[in-house]
Each structure stands twice: as C-alpha cells, then as structure tokens.
Amino acid sequence: MIAETLYTGFGAWNPIVWLIALAVALLFAWFIQRLGEPDIPGEGESGKSYISGNDEPSPEDGHIGGSNLYWGFTEAMKGYYARVVPLHTGCLTDYVLWFLGTFALLFILIGVI
C-alpha cells in the first residue's frame, strides 16, 4: 500500500516524498558525523568538557528545572498572565458561574441577535 497524496484543495502533502527527503538528509548528517572524532581525546584536564574553565556542576545543580525553562516568555506575558491565572481560582462556585454566564451569552447571541 503506497501512501497517496493528501489534497486539501489548496495544496498537496505526500508523506513518502518527505520521508525520502528526510532519509537523504539523515544520510548526509551521518556522513558528516563520521568525519569527526568519536570522543574527546586526551586524559586528565584535556579529557573533560570545556565550560570556560569552571568545574562541571553536580547533577542536581546542572539541570534546569521545569519552572525556570520559559522564564523569558512568562515574564514578557506578565500582563496577560496576571489577569488570566487568577481567574482559575479552583472554587467550584466560580466554575458554575462561568457555565451560567456562557449560557447567558450564548442565549443572547443565538436567541436575540
């Protein structure tokens, strides 16, 4: 069963062509990697990774945790998050009020307009 082309009416997407292109690109990447060194040569100081002369951090310190990873994004969108996050109060009454409010809005939209 050969994969056929998916026509969306505006464009076409054929997965087999893409997979062949990916295979060729991976082949090129493998060739280029073969030309390099398999591991860091040397013993002692010249055998360790170079981190600007500092020591390698311990495993706990060297791993950035989940909360700190997108700090730039959350900091830039602080105005948006300061308004939206407090809306998620966790109180069941607020959930019911949102449901009733949405129903009222939908009724005005569908029934009156």
Binding site: G90, C91, T93, L100
Partner: protein
C-alpha cells in the same frame, strides 16, 4: 395562561436550585441545590405530557380513552433513578472530602487551582 403555571413552576425550581448552588458555601447544600435543579427538570418533563381533559394512561376500567402522554412519565422515572445515583455518588464524595480536609466549605476546597 393558567395552563402554563406548571412550566413556570419548573423554571422557577431550576432557578432556585441554581441560586442555591451559586450562593451557598456548604458542599452538602450545593449538592442539594443540584437535586433541586433535577426536581425542576422532572416537573418540566411531566408537565409536558399533560393533555387537557386527559385521564391517567391505564387501560383497565378507563373512564375515557383520552389519556395523558405516558412517554414522559417513563422519562421522568428514569431521570429520578439517575438523580438518585448522581446524588448518592456526589454526597459520598463530599463525605470523604469532609473527612480528609476537615471542612465542608467550598472556598476551602481549593487545593487544585490555576
């Protein structure tokens, strides 16, 4: 106009039930508000089946053959049973929460937020 009173009462019951859910802070009262909403919907279901001048839909010794709709009565019975299961499950949840959290206040039941 007077024939529409059951429908208005059903709507009123649903509104009262929703008001109880929204204004009360005790979890048990909120679940009972939900039971009020269900009672309002049941009243609406039964009232829909009324035919003016109709008798109960039982064929044995019927005074006339003009009967009210029996389908809605079956629907209402089904909904009453569903309501029993729902209320029982939700009340058992409230029981476990009051034992583990030590409170029945909905504004304190907020360990999961944002």
């Amino acid at each position: 106009m007077i024939e529409n009173i059951p429908f208005f009462c059903a709507g009123l019951l649903v509104l009262i039930g929703l008001a109880v859910i929204v204004t009360k802070r005790d979890l048990i009262k909120m679940v009972m508000g939900l039971a009020l909403v269900e009672a309002g919907v049941n009243l609406l279901l039964v009232a829909t089946g009324y035919i003016s001048g109709g008798v109960a839909p039982i064929f044995t010794n019927a005074p006339s053959t003009e009967m009210v709709m029996a389908t809605v009565q079956a629907m209402t019975l089904t909904n009453i049973v569903i309501g029993i299961a729902t209320t029982a499950l939700l009340l058992s949840f409230v029981m476990v929460i009051s034992r583990k959290y030590g409170t029945r206040d909905v504004t304190e039941m907020r360990r999961l937020k944002e």
